[in-house]
Symmetry: C2
Subunit: 252 residues, 2 copies
């Protein structure tokens, strides 16, 4: 993965996760599928669905048909309350899955929108279940993936009794770790979502988020040129964030 960041032309292929770094691919990779099974799984997974900034991947209320993985780009999921207020429920970076919450109800509770030009893998849930009928290891792996999502959501719940400062620091650390886990730089990245998305997600006003970014910058914790973020003192941020929860893997 050519990480030719810094000043030069951005190579799109460099921003893609390799299949082996993708959560979705964990479905087949580490569980010892035979050649034949692997080929079959690859037929099931439809790669190459594209979306541009603002495009909907699916909308709230639509029937549940498939789960998705981000190959390149990024996605947000939002729910909409009666009164029209939106709530961002999550951001999804390259290699991550989304749409899992719809398995139970049969229809999507949230809408998913691309935050930038995004490539997705789509895997029809019916086919996945059929396949899992023959190869249960697939389903076991799905359990693990969903468990991790639950764990992450619980970590997020932590934010409820934390200060604005702690929330934003935790958010940045989380993004950083997730990028790093997928083989990108954890200290320098683009925040593809708007400040208001971040605020909404963290339960803060846009203005508060903005003020915190400048404060963090003055304190030498990070450098921000609009959406381009460079973490200068990860430990410092980690300290503010108040140390994430779990024994291992901490911040996801």
């Amino acid at each position: 993965m050519n990480q030719e960041t810094k000043a030069e032309v951005i190579d799109l292929s460099a921003l893609q996760v390799a299949c082996r770094d993708c959560t979705l691919f964990q479905l087949c990779l580490p569980i010892g599928l035979g050649e034949a099974d692997l080929a079959r799984l690859e037929r099931i997974i439809k790669t190459k669905r594209y979306a541009r900034r603002g495009d909907y991947i699916f909308r709230r209320g639509e029937g549940f048909r498939a789960i998705y993985a981000v190959k390149a780009g990024s996605v947000k999921t939002v729910t909409i309350a009666e009164d029209g207020r939106e709530q961002v429920t999550g951001f999804h970076l390259p290699g991550e899955l989304f749409g899992l919450d719809a398995i139970a109800g049969g229809s999507h509770c949230a809408s998913a929108r691309a935050l930038e030009r995004t490539t997705l893998c789509e895997i029809p849930f019916d086919s996945l279940e059929d396949f899992g009928e023959e190869v249960p290891a697939i389903l076991r792996q799905m359990l693990r993936i969903m468990s991790r999502e639950i764990q992450r959501d619980h970590t997020l719940a932590h934010l409820a009794n934390r200060s604005a400062e702690e929330r934003l620091a935790a958010f940045l650390i989380s993004i950083s770790n997730r990028y790093r886990e997928r083989g990108f730089s954890g200290s320098e990245f683009h925040l593809t979502m708007s400040r208001s998305d971040i605020g909404n997600y963290l339960g803060l006003a846009v203005e508060t988020v903005s003020r915190l970014f400048t404060r963090f910058q003055h304190e030498g914790l990070l450098a921000a040129r609009s959406k381009h973020i460079q973490l200068l003192d990860v430990d410092g941020l980690q300290g503010i964030a108040g140390e994430a929860v779990c024994v291992r893997g901490a911040s996801r």
Copy 2:
């Protein structure tokens, strides 16, 4: 714990969910298992683990061995941050599962403690996976159960940008719905957790929670005698809560 409150003696068996109302039992019931399989599943599920108020079901850091269902009583799960602050991540009522977040990491991120005298079903995860190897429908059902948990957690995330009033109303509606779904009264129940647990869970100070209870009471929305709650105007509370999210099943 003799709950001989006010007038009548409470029949303990009446406070238990029937197996068919238990989330765990959904593993076998609706998917057409044969007699033999069903019998085998019942051998796997160890019923009857007891816990008294304050007892730990499992502790943070312990190896993950089993998932649990509440048969009677109630449970809270809490994580502990570096600085010692506790964070309540969930309450679990009769018929509900907990411990699912540990599947991914292999050890528990949270501790689980009984809120009162509690009866639990314990199902060793190894056995469940082995069984799922032969009967994949089991695993498919697990996916659904976990999906619902993710969905619920996302609903919770909503609370982030809501007022204290909205949070508590939403919390009460949620508890009410969950009791009702399991065949208990949705309008009159015991809140087995302390006010400070509620506050912690919702990200509010104890005092705020307390003040809200008295305000709701003055407004005729509910009647509270310490932990015993009677919802007098569910629609009113629903209105304050701001209508839960999903197309169906709303508030779980």
